[in-house]
């Protein structure tokens, strides 16, 4: 879970997505194949090699009004095509804090 913000060289080991935070409200979003952002991981564009990843990231960075801090994050894609976050950090970004929020306790 080394901070992906420190990600310099783009080298990916498996299926990946580009994720960021939406500019106006900060929520977690994923870059879609339709050159837009979605709050649903299931709608994320999947890249499978460094060139694809580089291209998707470049396009995401260019859309600076839409979302900020884009980076490449690993995912797992099931046999049924279902996309799951590839590490704990991304799991937490997707499903929220792993603790009760005090207002809900």
């Amino acid at each position: 879970m080394t901070s992906p913000l420190e990600q310099k060289k783009i080298k990916i080991a498996g299926p990946s997505v580009v994720t960021a935070n939406r500019t106006w409200d900060g929520i977690v979003v994923y870059r879609t194949a339709a050159r837009s952002w979605s709050a649903e991981l299931s709608e994320a564009a999947i890249v499978r090699n460094s060139d694809e990843a580089k291209a998707l990231l470049a396009e995401s960075v260019a859309d600076d009004v839409g979302a900020i801090g884009p980076y490449i994050a690993p995912v797992q894609v099931g046999a049924d095509g279902k996309i799951e976050p590839g590490n704990l950090r991304e799991q937490i970004r997707r499903t929220g804090v792993t603790i009760g929020q005090p207002a809900q306790v």
């Binding site: 879970m1 009004v65 950090r89 009760g100």
Partner: protein
């Protein structure tokens, strides 16, 4: 309480309209994130994992009840109904929307609250003892000097573009509750032989990747010279400080590399040039600030009133009183610490309802004043002793009377991987599990004073280096691993903890802490020997043996 003057009010309001305009330009695309980032950081706005985070300053930890209500309002209206009190007398909101931030700032500005000096490479919120002005035996209220420095450094060019962030803490008591030895500059108010007020000045303390305990650079600097002396330190830092490497940019690295003798010679030389300049503080200036701090009109009240004697029959009240109530400079009154560490909950969080209710209680029992301490608890600084039983009942209803102040469940923890984009591992769930393990008050009381501090990465926001037991989350092969240290402390005898051995997994942390505590209970010479004293006497070895013998 402190009353801001017109200059401050105008400044705060101007900042809000400036930021409103910047946000508008950002959302329209006129400003890129690169251009905007420095502007938002000047207003306390970070990006975390799930959202923006908004950090608001509580200068020297003093809040008026209407200010606490304003914080509750922001939590409710713009966030998810709660806020997180941090180790540097700030409060953070975790779910704020950029588009709504200018409104939140404007609402806070109405009660004189702002986010200046909460982020960026500048002078940060000057912190102080949360018992300032009410602790018995203080030289004088350290907030007067905190405020002087706050005014001098806010938006001052010399302090706004430093190699790295810069933190100052001030205490005026022998017992250091402001952790001055882990700050870039630590100031201790003292009197010299002539009875003049001044400071012992410490420099180069800090945590993070390379922790250092601050060293005394000068034993006495007269109060009137404190701004020029700080400025001299800052100039030497500005001149030599490493801007090329973020990990080496803090003043602690410079002090370490130059050595304290050379560093202090450089400062001394610089100081001689400027000490008789306009930086010398006129008595009127200090008098003016002093006059803006108002103190309640204390009644002459009994120090052991009937109400208190009757309540002493209730063991629950007594358990709370023993840990939460401290002596006040006026014997009819007490300082009451409000634990924000209920069993099983995230340390330092308070809901909007709790903040509102506490503001009401402050009005009723504490002359409308609330304090915020670096241990992530709150305090009511002026409670009449006869009111303690009634206050306790009211706090208990709000979930704010956990009798664990300074005990093992009074844990300091940073947000960690649940919120923070720099995190390697989670902190809060570790704290939650530990509070459940030691929930039994008898057990916690038997163990006595023991501080556990947890950070989710090497930045050390959770002060793990100086925890009696320190827990640092790291990442190893995609898994959360925790390194455990013992023997650290953050008070006047500040020390860094020592590692007990290899890191352990998320699920094992609470077991390991239990082992350490069991070892301590078996090893201590008598019940009064505190954990840190046993560690000091025996070192790490016996604890290490205990923890790793079966692992």
């Amino acid at each position: 309480m402190y009353a801001y003057d017109e200059i401050d009010r105008t400044l705060v309001n101007e900042r809000v309209s400036e930021f409103r305009d910047q946000v508008k330009r950002r959302l329209s695309g006129e400003l890129t994130e690169d251009e905007f980032k420095i502007l938002r950081l000047q207003n306390g706005v970070y990006l975390q994992l799930h959202a923006y985070m908004f950090r608001v300053a509580i200068p020297y930890g003093t809040l008026a009840s209407n200010q606490l209500r304003a914080l509750a309002h922001v939590a409710r209206k713009y966030d998810r109904g709660y806020g997180h009190f941090t180790t540097r007398q700030n409060i953070q909101f975790n779910w704020i929307k950029l588009a709504e931030l200018p409104d939140a700032l404007a609402d806070l500005a109405e009660v004189g609250i702002h986010a200046m000096q909460t982020s960026g490479n500048n002078m940060r919120n000057v912190t102080s003892d949360q018992w300032a002005g009410v602790a018995p035996g203080e030289i004088e209220d350290p907030r007067i000097w905190s405020e002087l420095i706050r005014q001098h450094t806010t938006l001052h060019p010399e302090f706004s573009f430093l190699p790295r962030k810069f933190k100052i803490a001030i205490t005026a008591s022998d017992h250091d509750r402001a952790a001055i030895k882990i700050h870039d500059i630590g100031l201790k108010l003292i009197k010299n032989e002539k009875g003049e007020t001044g400071f012992e000045v410490l420099v180069g303390g800090g945590l993070g990747r390379t922790p250092f305990i601050g060293k005394t650079i000068k034993h006495f600097v007269h109060g009137r010279d404190i701004l020029s002396y700080i400025e001299a330190i800052l100039r030497v830092y500005n001149q030599y400080g490493r801007r090329d490497n973020i990990y080496k940019a803090r003043i602690k690295i410079l002090v370490h590399e130059l050595g304290i003798e050379k560093f202090s010679r450089e400062v001394e030389e610089e100081w001689q040039h400027i000490r008789n300049s306009s930086l010398q503080i006129d008595d009127e200036v200090i008098e003016d600030i002093r006059s803006r701090f108002t103190y309640p009109f204390y009644e002459k009240l009994p120090h052991n009133p009937d109400e208190l004697r009757q309540a002493a029959a209730d063991p629950d009240f007594e358990a709370w009183r023993k840990n939460s109530v401290a002596p006040h400079k006026n014997p009819g009154y007490s300082i009451v610490t409000i634990s924000l560490k209920p069993i099983g909950a995230p340390p330092g969080d308070a809901t909007a309802e709790q903040m509102d209710a506490l503001a009401d209680l402050a009005d009723k029992y504490s002359f409308g004043e609330i304090r915020v301490g670096h241990e992530q608890n709150l305090a009511l600084p002026h409670v009449a002793k006869r009111d303690l039983p009634a206050l306790w009942k009211a706090l208990d209803k709000l979930g704010l009377a956990t009798p664990n102040v300074n005990l093992i469940t009074d844990i300091i923890a940073c947000p960690g991987l649940d919120y923070c984009s720099l995190a390697n591992a989670r902190s809060i769930p570790i704290a939650q599990e530990l509070t459940r393990r030691f929930a039994n008050h008898e057990l916690a009381n038997l163990i006595g004073r023991l501080h556990i501090n947890i950070s989710g990465c090497i930045n050390a926001c959770g002060h793990h280096h100086v925890g009696h037991i320190g827990i640092l989350g790291v990442e190893k092969n995609g898994e959360e691993v925790y390194q455990i240290t013992i023997g650290g402390r953050a008070d006047e005898s500040a020390a860094l903890g020592n590692l007990i051995g290899p890191g352990v997994k998320f699920d094992e942390v609470a077991d390991v802490v239990e082992d350490i505590v069991e070892a301590y209970l078996a090893l201590r010479e008598r019940p009064e020997e505190l954990f840190m004293d046993t560690v000091k006497r025996l070192g790490v070895e016996p604890f290490k043996e205990r923890v790793y013998a079966t692992r």
